[in-house]
Symmetry: D2
Subunit: 220 residues, 4 copies
């Protein structure tokens, strides 16, 4: 999995950076200040976080270039409806010509308790997924369109996408997906996204740590 | 694929059916009449359709019980964000204990031009997907959790879901998915949904036919 | 203010009522049961509420016919974006021909501490709003269109609308607007809506009381 | 009315500007290129516009600092639900202490056909709105809270807000609000917003002109 920032909100040059705040936190602070006709400040952001007045965090957003997540992870990700997705099309991309991979769950590639567990589970996985890609090629060479041949590909197949999401919707995403009970792949994705946004807007995301969300994270 | 209506909007008993309209079309007609302080009527609905005043169609919605679509189709379906989905969890359902199937694309199960095409493509498909399910069972019996074992399952694997969508969002869904260029499986889903809603709200959906949407359907 | 149910979700005849549940709670129970392949039940609903698995409550929705709220209240109401509104048009309704009223805040019509407070504030309010409507008529009679003449009308002016909202979005609405800190008019609206939906879906809304929301209600 | 850009999307430094494109158009071009695994280009954007593949335009957004629009205009504006608003609070801002104004419709301040029309309509408007503000102060001085006193203020009263909206949602906004049939105040707002975004993303907004939207603008 690779997660890179493709774009994010920037403050217009005509508005000053708020002392002690990054560019993105400054955008939030300016928005709050207009609501209450007060001076923009770090404290105003913290107060909004505390009071659950989170709509002001919709004014900053982040565009991620995400590569190499499984279709399993994609299905979970796109359930977050307050976000924008541009996903690599499996209908029109022909995998006999373009590179594609698979995501191997750690419990399969390196099971903890394995004596011989590793050999067994990894080999099963490896054999079956390889065979599926070989069959995909055979179907395509028999005249089946990629959009139909893909039905045979495993859910482990990787995909790439561009995703844009605002900070408020990220709060919800982090609350659910940084949690220890979250599935490992989307949790890793959430952690990588947090690392990126926390540097850009440290006050906005001050309540999040990679090890858990705000509300549910206490006991993890 | 099976598509059944689980629930839909009903008019409250204190409001009259509008002459010539079904219960659901009557809800729309009442909503329009309040906007303009006019008498509810069929013509008012047609006028809104003509003028693109489509927000009034958000007041009626439909809940579908959908069974046996592929994960491929599910991925396309859930891209429609103005709708509600409750999807059978692959994390928590153990397919070694519960029934599951695969969707076979017609181009693979019964290719048009086949002499021996049928044998080739169907057998490839059948062998590989069967093998994948056998491997899933083997992984689970080796201690891999269903949520990780599912990575090996093909995208053809069926899933079930409950989906609620309002008429306006359905317009958009039908515009895209009844179109001949739409992928065959989601197109079939759209056609089945249209058949159901058209009976319940014939005026609201008067511009849709199973063979195509309104704007793009002309040349198909 | 008058709030009436115009429409709501009904369970299709082909699905059974779940023992002990109303029609609307049954829709939710069926949706949950498909997600986990379990038997629909009241307990399953309560578990979803407890775990914050609230997306299943999007499958039932309510359409309200709301009359006589102020433009102040309307502005607050329509900030709830996950809902559908059909609002009486002030552009096209001519108030010289149609009935319209004003909402008088209780603190103005019957101030608590009044000796002569009542006389003062109510008379100010009454005189100025009456004068505004008289001026509206005069503007219209001087050739100004209703859509421009309305700029002179007070924010107390009443309006009517049809609003559709699903149960999950109502949770959010109730959390904010049943609270004692909520503004009195929208709080009254929330209370009236709660009374209606609680009768229709008592388990779904079991955590709400007219005197407050779930999370913030503790100290009220 | 004043409309200024407070913030907008910027391309991350690790991604190149696409030849011939601005920073914001480049973000869109990169998103498209990932979907199809093609080289980012201006033509790819134009093709998406032509085919109605508009979800890719959700990746860029704009934050406007809007001052001095009427409450009438605000009510129309916030009906656009796919956007984020932070509105100056009338509950907590006390207009006896903070500056506020009114928006006078041109048909009232400078009616075309006036001989004496001007005197009549402007004076009516001016007298009544001034009286309303005087009464507001009197109510507040009699102990009525600003949140209740504001019921007496005219809908012409100005307000300030911060609004964030992505390019796709702006397409919809422009389609409706640049149209000649749109109400004059929100039309002016749309024109000012278009002027700003067209400079930042000229290809994305190439189909819009200040005199009208794309589809409906032809015959106006």
């Amino acid at each position: 999995m690779e997660v890179r920032l493709l774009a994010c909100t920037k403050l217009d040059l005509n508005y000053p950076l708020v002392p002690g705040l990054t560019e993105l936190d400054s955008v939030v602070a300016h928005a709050i200040s207009m609501c209450y006709r007060t001076t923009p400040s770090k404290n105003a952001i913290l107060k909004c976080l505390k009071n659950g007045h989170t709509s002001v965090f919709e004014h900053i957003s982040f565009t991620f270039d995400i590569e190499g997540i499984s279709r399993v992870c994609l299905a979970q990700l796109t359930r977050h409806r307050i976000a924008s997705y541009t996903v690599e099309s499996q209908r029109f991309v022909d995998y006999t010509k373009k590179l594609v991979g698979v995501v191997v769950p750690p419990s399969i590639s390196s099971p903890k308790c394995s004596g011989n567990g590793f050999d067994v589970t990894f080999h099963i996985f490896n054999d079956v997924t390889k065979e599926a890609f070989r069959a995909y090629e055979e179907l395509v060479s028999n005249g089946v369109k990629p959009e139909d041949a893909r039905f045979i590909l495993p859910q482990a197949t990787t995909t790439n996408l561009v995703m844009t999401i605002n900070a408020r919707s990220l709060f919800n995403f982090f609350n659910q997906r940084l949690d220890k009970r979250a599935q490992w792949e989307i949790r890793e994705l959430a952690q990588r996204m947090l690392r990126i946004v926390k540097e850009l807007a440290p006050i906005t995301f001050s309540q999040y740590r990679e090890t858990g969300g705000d509300r549910k994270g206490a006991d993890n």
